[in-house]
């Protein structure tokens, strides 16, 4: 393959050029209620070329090999146009040339498991909620995405890496009278099929929760101090803070960039946040990013102080900060952008019981259901929650969405538990999706969160 890629770039005259070719194999099985709606296994492929010439940068993606010449020409012309129209030339931080082949260790390779076996496993999980009459619908899907990536650049890097992601995820919907409630389910990972075997309990627990939600009260809107469970703490780390540790976001927002200067005191002194995609077995694990840089752990917040940032080669040069290996693409349809890998709040020393005592009155919120950031403000949903009165967990509440301001909320994290957990499924949409976006944390307390209710 590398010879083919070299041939494509052979005529290029730019200062720097790279090319990524990917074959993506996708297996999909989907149920809607009892009905199987999808079963397919397909392969597709394509190329991404990036050019940096005289301070001008451009990218092109294409899927037909016979378009290669036109594609490289388009990238060069656009880089030249960029160069003529910018006062500030784009630079890339120096990176080592790497020659390597990397395939992750898999618990069980899903590519060797017959489709029938996968189908039966998903059917079994799907049947767990469907056994209950109040469950009116399920939407449960198996997804297996295998990316075989070939990366080559004009500085001598040649990297072949495989990324394999499996998941069973979806939604269970229950109804009683005029009230419908739903709950998200999801299991999976990046280390093989083993991660999704033997997970009946997950579906049983979620089914019980969605049935319980039918008897829960809507949360009363207002401002509350809350315990967030690890799933929600992870989404908080990702949504509220994480996106602003992506250098390409703050790079061109001068006011925010100033505020996010390394060394700035952003959070309570007990707060530590790291992005560490180097941990094998975790959903976010990879070896090299999509510009051939080896990923490394980045301590983002240390004792409440901003201490690191996630970078591409372009942003590392712009900020004058170390490379981190976080420039990642969804697949061959996209040029890479700066993405979180595995971001989490590092555990403290409080037990869950101690957190309840210290909260005393407030809400205990569990499990993320979608979040979004818009500048310094963030919003995300919790699948369910409980009132906490005098340090004791009380009745269940539903329809929970919380909102807050990044800077204020980082200061308002008043307690950090010791029980770290990382997410098994991901899905961050920043123009392109990242199904391996992994986040987590321990239980934490945040004071004064706005809870919207409905």
């Amino acid at each position: 393959m590398f010879e083919k890629l070299e041939k494509i770039l052979a005529g290029a005259k730019a200062d720097y050029i790279d090319i990524r070719y990917e074959e993506v194999k996708e297996t999909a099985i989907g149920f809607s209620g009892k009905e199987l709606t999808t079963l397919s296994a397909n392969a597709s492929d394509g190329f991404v070329v990036r050019v940096l010439d005289q301070g001008g940068m451009a990218s092109v993606t294409f899927t037909r090999p016979d378009e290669a010449e036109a594609a490289v020409r388009a990238a060069e012309e656009n880089a030249s146009l960029f160069s003529r129209n910018t006062a500030k030339p784009v630079r890339m931080a120096k990176a080592e040339a790497v020659r390597d082949t990397f395939a992750p260790k898999l618990g069980e390779d899903p590519r060797h498991i017959p489709m029938e076996e996968k189908l039966e496993l998903v059917r079994k999980y799907n049947n767990i909620p469907l056994a209950w009459p109040k469950v009116v619908n399920t939407s449960i899907a198996y997804s297996e995405v295998c990316r075989k990536k070939y990366y080559l650049n004009s500085e001598g890097s040649r990297i072949q890496e495989d990324l394999l992601t499996t998941s069973v995820r979806g939604l269970i919907t229950a109804r009683e009278g005029g009230l419908t409630q739903n709950i998200r389910v999801g299991i999976g990972g990046s280390d093989g099929f083993g991660a999704i075997r033997g997970q009946e309990r997950h579906f049983e627990e979620k089914t019980k929760l969605v049935l319980d939600l039918l008897a829960a009260e809507p949360v009363k809107s207002g401002s509350y101090s809350c315990i967030l469970n690890p799933s929600l703490a992870g989404v908080f780390a990702h949504e509220a803070f994480g996106h602003f540790s992506e250098a390409d976001i703050v790079e061109t927002l001068p006011a925010m960039r100033k505020r996010m200067t390394l060394g700035a005191k952003l959070g309570n002194g007990i707060l530590n946040i790291i992005d560490d995609a180097t941990q094998p077995g975790q959903l976010g694990f990879y070896q090299y990013d999509d510009e051939g840089v080896e990923v490394r752990p980045v301590q983002l917040i240390k004792n409440g102080v901003l201490s690191g940032r996630l970078h591409s080669r372009r942003t590392a040069a712009e900020f004058g900060e170390p490379l981190s290996g976080h420039c990642v693409a969804e697949d061959y349809r996209y040029a890479p952008i700066v993405r979180m890998g595995t971001i989490f709040i590092q555990p403290g020393d409080k037990s869950f019981g101690e957190l309840l005592q210290s909260l005393w009155d407030g809400l205990y919120l569990l499990d993320a259901k979608g979040g979004q950031t818009s500048g310094e403000n963030f919003t995300f949903g919790a699948n369910y929650g409980y009132e906490v009165r005098q340090g004791k967990i009380g009745r269940m509440v539903r329809d929970i969405n919380i909102s807050g301001n990044l800077y204020q909320t980082l200061m308002d994290i008043s307690s950090v538990g010791s029980d770290l957990r990382l997410s098994q499924i991901g899905g961050c949409g920043k123009g392109q999706s990242n199904i391996r976006s992994c986040n987590g944390g321990p239980h934490i307390i945040i004071d004064n969160l706005i809870v919207g209710g409905i």
Partner: protein, 437 residues
């Protein structure tokens, strides 16, 4: 294509070949400076077969191996995914204006010039962080099926967008224009954005409670997503839409009329037939608040004993890749009938309320049921018909079947919004807003 169809037609009862070729260029400016130039060439072929009432599906980017693609589709028959419908024998589609040759001539330099022009105008008008960009995309698509349909269409889409960000906040006022070939972003649209931006300089923390809310084009996504979900034949079939038994009943304010019109080629993206080859037509959905109909693709029409309304599209809110996604019901040409109120008049009617320009979390919550609970960002707080400032840390929440029953007035101007929709600003009352005060 023909050969693949012939092979597939022999191996199955019915077959359909869908192919697409697309090229696009986009230029973006961040903080009023050139940031990125991207070009994409994306093509592919997708095969659907039906055999003994079961569905097979396969796709590829490069049709190098027809037999391999067909075998993939035949393999997927083993799952026994039901398909008890017939592919349409559509012969000639309506002739619509969907492609402007001027789009094919647009270069990166043209897009760069328009983005730069918008940045310069905004820079002169307001001291914010300016984002802008322009794009063009040209595609051709073809559907061939074993019942004799051979449909093809060429489309072009060009547009530009811009935002003025409130420094330090990361969120701002945004506007967009879309057409079949490049049109300049009109001055009045740029001014509207800059004027609203200026009036949001001061941050305020009003008390929460029930109040009027003016949904602007960028925040209408909250309502539209739930409208579309609640009117989908699939949601009705899956018993997750609250509208199943409400046909002919008033579900929204009489001030609201909503329809889908793929044939309206005054705007880009018009379609004579959907991605399954079913002819498109104008579909009334809500007439003066009364529920008139649901939309269907072939599959869910069959399940509900209805006819496809021509709403089978390859792609949904999360995935727009027509090659890898099977057709499903989707509404992409929604129009909300405009009223007569100017933006100034809408604002003048707010005794106490918020103009919502942007939202967070529109994708969260029980969408088919119509529930929403959104972070507001940015939102302008209004008292006695005057904008007081930009609201800090606020959420709005409710259920669209309540919110859209309490419409005060509908704006006069249509803006592009959620997934090809064209909607006016909408002033509603009694919306629950939570703040920190």
């Amino acid at each position: 294509m023909e050969k693949l169809l012939e092979m597939a037609g022999r191996a199955a009862d019915q077959a359909e070949v869908f192919s697409t070729e697309q090229s696009s260029i986009s230029v973006s400016f961040h903080d009023a400076k050139l940031y990125d130039i991207k070009t994409n060439f994306l093509s592919g072929v997708s095969l659907r077969i039906i055999k003994d009432g079961k569905l097979g599906f396969a796709y590829t980017r490069n049709l190098k191996n027809r037999q391999g693609l067909l075998e993939n589709a035949l393999d997927s028959l083993r799952g026994r995914v039901e398909a008890n419908y017939d592919l349409p024998d559509t012969r000639v589609g309506q002739s619509l204006a969907t492609y402007d040759p001027a789009a094919s001539k647009l270069s990166s330099a043209d897009l760069l010039d328009e983005s730069q022009r918008i940045c310069e105008i905004l820079k002169a008008k307001a001291a914010g962080e300016i984002m802008a960009g322009a794009y063009v995309s040209v595609d051709s698509m073809r559907i061939l099926n074993s019942r004799g349909a051979d449909l093809s269409q060429r489309n072009s889409l060009a547009g530009s967008y811009s935002s003025i960000i409130f420094p330090g906040s990361g969120s701002g006022m945004s506007r967009e224009v879309r057409s079949r070939a490049m049109v300049k972003m009109p001055d009045n649209l740029i001014s509207e954005m800059a004027d609203l931006f200026k009036q949001g300089q001061k941050t305020v923390q009003p008390k929460g409670g029930r109040m009027k809310v003016l949904f602007m084009p960028e925040s209408m996504i909250t309502l539209l997503w739930r409208i579309v979900s609640g009117l989908s034949g699939r949601s009705v079939y899956e018993k997750i839409s609250p509208n199943a038994a409400r046909l002919g009943q008033r579900i929204f304010s009489p001030k609201l009329t909503i329809y889908d019109d793929p044939l309206n080629d005054a705007y880009p993206g018009a379609r004579a037939w959907d991605d399954e080859g079913v002819p498109c037509k104008k579909l009334p959905l809500i007439e003066q608040g009364v529920l008139k109909g649901f939309f269907y693709d072939l599959k869910y029409a069959e399940k509900m004993g209805a006819a496809s309304t021509g709403h089978g599209y390859r792609g949904d809110i999360w995935s727009g890749d027509p090659v890898t996604v099977k057709p499903g019901p989707f509404l992409g040409h929604l129009f909300m009938e405009p009223g007569t109120a100017s933006l100034a008049r809408l604002i003048s009617q707010i005794d106490r309320g918020i103009i919502i320009e942007g939202v967070m979390g529109a994708h969260s919550g029980n969408i088919p049921n119509g529930d929403y609970s959104i972070g507001i960002g940015p939102g302008l707080y209004v008292e006695n018909g005057r904008i007081v400032g930009r609201v800090k840390d606020a959420m709005a929440a409710g259920n669209i079947y309540q919110t859209l029953s309490n419409v005060v007035e509908v704006g006069e101007t249509l803006y592009p919004s959620f997934e090809g929709a064209r909607v006016p600003p909408l002033l509603c009352e009694g919306v629950s807003v939570t703040t920190k005060s």
